[in-house]
Symmetry: C2
Subunit: 409 residues, 2 copies
Amino acid sequence: MSTDTFDFATVVRGDLPAPAGKWAGYPAFNFVGGHNAPESIPVDDLIEAATTVLQREGRTLATYKLESGSLGYLPLRQFLVEKLKRHAGIECSVDEILLTSGSLQGMDLINQILLQPGDTVVIEEANYGGVLPRFATAGATPVGVTCDEDGMDMDALERTLAELASTGKTPRYIYTIPTIQNPTATIMTRARRERMVELAKAYSVPIFEDECYSDLIWDGQRPPAVYALDDSSRTIFLGTFSKSIAPALRVGYVVAPWSVLSRLLLCKTDAGSGALEQMVLGEYCPKHFDNHVAHLNKLLKAKLDVLIEALNAQFGTAAEFAVPKGGIFLWVKLPTSVDTTRLAQIANAEQVAVNPGAEWSIEGDSARRAIRICYANPSTDTIRQGVAQLAAICRREFGVPTRIANVDQ
Amino acid sequence: MSTDTFDFATVVRGDLPAPAGKWAGYPAFNFVGGHNAPESIPVDDLIEAATTVLQREGRTLATYKLESGSLGYLPLRQFLVEKLKRHAGIECSVDEILLTSGSLQGMDLINQILLQPGDTVVIEEANYGGVLPRFATAGATPVGVTCDEDGMDMDALERTLAELASTGKTPRYIYTIPTIQNPTATIMTRARRERMVELAKAYSVPIFEDECYSDLIWDGQRPPAVYALDDSSRTIFLGTFSKSIAPALRVGYVVAPWSVLSRLLLCKTDAGSGALEQMVLGEYCPKHFDNHVAHLNKLLKAKLDVLIEALNAQFGTAAEFAVPKGGIFLWVKLPTSVDTTRLAQIANAEQVAVNPGAEWSIEGDSARRAIRICYANPSTDTIRQGVAQLAAICRREFGVPTRIANVDQ
C-alpha cells in the first residue's frame, strides 16, 4: 500500500467482525450449506413462468414494489395464503405476509425490531449455525433446551423458563425450528407444539417459528405450525422458497400480525425485495409447487439413502444418526475421540466440507463429536466418494472408524 | 384486541420509528419516487435474456450465490467493469464490485461499517430524501454544503471542512451525488471533482459517491466519476440498474477497494442478493444496455419537455427551475409565500403527490418553497393534468400562481 493510499481500517467501526476472505470456489465434496439438487431446478417451467408473467405485467417493473405495495408481489402472497392453510393449517390474510429477500432478511428484520443487548433467547440446543453469530451481534444470550426425536423437550423448556423467571428474566422469544429441525431433522409432535404455546402464554413470551425446511418431508405428514395452534397471536412465522424451489432465488416470507409487520417494514429500507423473482414464483407456484415438491422429495430421499448406505459402509457403527423424515442434512455423531472442529478443518483443506458440531450447537462439549452433512447438492457419486474420503481422513487423524468398507484397516 | 391476544408493542425495541401505515395504492398523479416510464421497460428483451440464461445455467440456482461467490453474478460484474470504464472512466476489477439488492442495500451496508453515533457527514445541502432519515437512525449529523448549477461549491466545502477541523472533527465521509444530483439534477464539473479529491486528501476524509442517476444524461456527456479521479483510493462508489433498466429489479453495486468490500460482505447477512435478476441483467446488458439507455433518455427528455411546458403554462413565473441535463426529476422553487410542506400534504389528499423541499434538503427555511417533481412514470397527459391540478390547489391555498394557463384567476 503506497503512503498515499487511504487506509479504510482507520475509519471503519471498531466493533465489526473480521473482514471476509476472498471466495475460492466450492470444495469438490461440498457437504455444507443449504444448497439444493441442481437436477431438481424446474428450469423449463421457470422460463415459462418468467415469459408469461413478463408478457402480462412486465411494464410494472417500472414501479418500485410493482402494484403490490411494501409487503411484496400480491399474487405470491395470495398463493401463500392458500399454501399455508393447506400445508401448515395457518389461517392468515395477504396483509399478514411480508415477502423478504430470503428468510434471512426476515430473520434479521425480526431481530432488529426485537433484540436488544442483554436479552435472553431460548432456542433448541443444537441449532442452525447462522443464528448463533446473529445473537452475538445483537448482544443477546441464547439458552439451549434439549431435544429428542420428537423435537424440543417441553419439560426442559418449562424448567428453563421457570429458571429464567426466578432470576427475573423473560426471554425475548422462544426460537424454534419445529418441522425438520436444523440440524437434527426432527419433527416436533403436535402435543409438544400445543404445550409450547401454553408455556409461552404462561411466561408471556413470544414465539419465533422458523419453518424453512418444512416443505421437505418424505411423506408430507406434519402437524400444524405452532403459528396455527397459537390462539394468542404471539407467534412470528418465517418461511422460504429457498429449500423448496431454489436457494439462489432470494424469496422468503414472514407471517405475523400487522403490529409486527408494520414495524418490520420500517426497518426494511431496501425499497422492496427483488420483483422478478417474486413475479416468477407468483406465476410458477400455483400451477407447479405441489408436484415439484413431491418430485424433489423423492430425489432428496434417494440421495439420503445413498448417504446412509455410504456412511454405513465407510464408518460402520462409528457413525450414529437418526434417519430423518425429510430435509437436506444428516446430524451424525462420531465417537467421542473425534474432535469434529479439527476434523472439519483438516477435511476442508482436502476438499471435503462438513459442518462441525460446535458451530451448530450450544450444547457444549457433547456437540464436538457431531457433524452436519448436507446431501442435496452433491451427486450420488460425489456423496459416495466424499464419505469415503472423510472416513479415510477421520481414521488417519483420530484412529476411527477402525473398519472401513467392512475391512479392518 | 382480546385480552388473550399478545401485544407485541410490549416487546419491540423502544427506539424504533413509528410503525408503517398500510399501503393504499399510488395516487392518480404520482410525482414522487424514483419510478421509471412503464413504456420504457424492455419486456421482450428481458424475456429473451431470461430464457437464454436460464436455459444455459438455470441449474446453478440450486447453489447459494450461483458459481460466483459472495460478490454476485460474475458476468454482470464483468459487464460493469467494461461499462464503468467506458461511461465513468473507472478502472476496476471484478473483485472490486459488490452486487447488492438495489443501491439502498449498498448504502445501508456502507453506513453500517462506517457510521457511529456522534459522527458528522458532509453532504450537498439539498439532498436525496432517503439519506436524511438514515443519518438520523445512525446518530450521525449531516452538515450541508451549498451547490450551484455546477454542483457542490468547493469553496464552501473547504470552509466547512476547515470549520469542522477547527473544532477537532473529521467528517466520517463526504457524501456526494455528483452526476445528476438529487434533487437539483446538476452535473458537477471535472475541475470541482478534482478539487473535492484534493480537499478530501487534505482533511483525510473518505468520499462516498452515489451515481444512481448517472446513466440518464440527455447527451451522454459527463466528467469522469470522482472514483476515477481519486488516486488515493478513498472513494466508495455506489451505482444501480434501478434508474437505467427498472426500479423493481433490485440490483445495485458498490465499487470499492477490497478492504471495504470485505467488511461490507461481513455485514451482508442475506446469503446473497437475488440471483435471477442478476442473471437476467448479466445476459441483457452486454447486448442491449447502451441502446436501451439512449432510447430511455429520449423518452425521459420528451416527458421533461412536457412537464416544463405544463409548468410554464400553469404556474408561469411562479415556478423557477433550472432545466436539467438528465435524470427523472425537476427541483422547482415557488414563491416564498408557499409552504410546500403544507402544499404537499393538501395535494396528496387530492391525489397529487410531490416531494416537499423540507424533506429533500437540510438548508432550512429556504427549501420550504421548493418541491421535487418526478416525471418519468406518469404519462404526458397525466403530467399535464397533474400540474394543472397542483397549480389550482396552490392558488386556492396560497394565492399563487396568480395567473393559470395565462388567464388571470
